[in-house]
Symmetry: C2
Amino acid sequence: MADIFQNNKTLSSRDIHFIFEQTVLKFASSPLQTAIPPIILDIMSKRIEHTLLKMDATPSELTTLCNETILHGFRGVCCLPRYIAHCRSVLRGTEALVISVVDFPLGGATQRDVASLVRSAISDGADEVDMVLDVPSLKSGELNTVFERIALVTEAASARPVKVILETACLTEPEIVTACAIAGTAGAAFVKTSTGFASRGASIRDIEIMKAAVGDSMRIKASGGIKDAVFAKRLVDAGADVIGTSAGPACIA
Amino acid sequence: MADIFQNNKTLSSRDIHFIFEQTVLKFASSPLQTAIPPIILDIMSKRIEHTLLKMDATPSELTTLCNETILHGFRGVCCLPRYIAHCRSVLRGTEALVISVVDFPLGGATQRDVASLVRSAISDGADEVDMVLDVPSLKSGELNTVFERIALVTEAASARPVKVILETACLTEPEIVTACAIAGTAGAAFVKTSTGFASRGASIRDIEIMKAAVGDSMRIKASGGIKDAVFAKRLVDAGADVIGTSAGPACIA
């Protein structure tokens, strides 16, 4: 089993459990509280996070996103930090969540600044925040730094659920499993596949690996390139709890 | 001339001057100090900002970027904020600049947070910062908000040169000219074409428009998709002062 980290092999369930447990053990001395939000399992619309993250999206396009979210009863909207207050205001009086990405899509801020950005997002009214995994530190084997960044964010989010975007397009299978284990022990509620800005978005295999790793201990969000109801359903069948998509209505059609 | 804003027509020099002057007049009551850094005009290598902005770039890849920059005598490196301190340290004792993007590539932070990110970048050792134009506000006709965001950044940069990334792929020709005028009056030293994350990077036409608009009052950085010396030279001939590229050595070959 010593070679499971050494190449891009397809992992077995046993490999996945082994890597996950070993990584959890490494960080078990500092387990953080993870609040796992409930998901309404039998209605696809309640799993949809209707998403608009284009750099040129205008406030009126965000208003449309919010109105479609209300109309279809989606879980919430996913927006850039600059639009949290606007979405909060349009969604007032509804159950829809305002979910904000932070330091997105590159995760290029310092640890100090990413924590500060999360505090801003929460103070502006975000119900959940989606952060980017520290991929360079994972690639460099600096797992403590990967842990620290997530722990800083979960602390800054003060009990609001945090999702960690793995950017699976950039990771090997062992790295996906390792990232899931670190995210969970650092207090994240979700692992999420993709930013939508990499070479590919969510795959069925991503979700299978993530589900085999985290079981019921975390939630899973599939995102990136999800454009229709058939693919959305396949991702849910593979283990995705939530679907992030800029094509919300098409995903429940 | 009333229809120059109304469609995607190709602007004449006269149209460009008209739009530029009208926009400058609108903001002339609050002109800010712009420090225009000198450019060594006769050596291509001194125009190159050697760039690495991939989300999975490791510290050792950034070290290589810095070493290539020293070897070839490039103007500087362009990196994510998390790597400013690292690049600063590798480039110590050389003339190469550390240039950091901020709130990149989507410009998704609030005004308050973007200013704070710039203060962090300067305090970590950035010599120049490349910010993203507030494209949604430009598209919505909220030119005061576009101005305000740039002015907040130039103030936060405390005399370090600021570049405004227009993301020309998302703009019409009149919008490019308007953005140049606002950037200059708000105290930016450079206008820059692209993030490298949009549908296209720099074009010759972009640089022609920007040069016709700003003349010698600002510097121009071409960026996005510049992979060889032939294209780099054409961009310089069209008016670009600086070339941002992840292929620095190939651009001086």
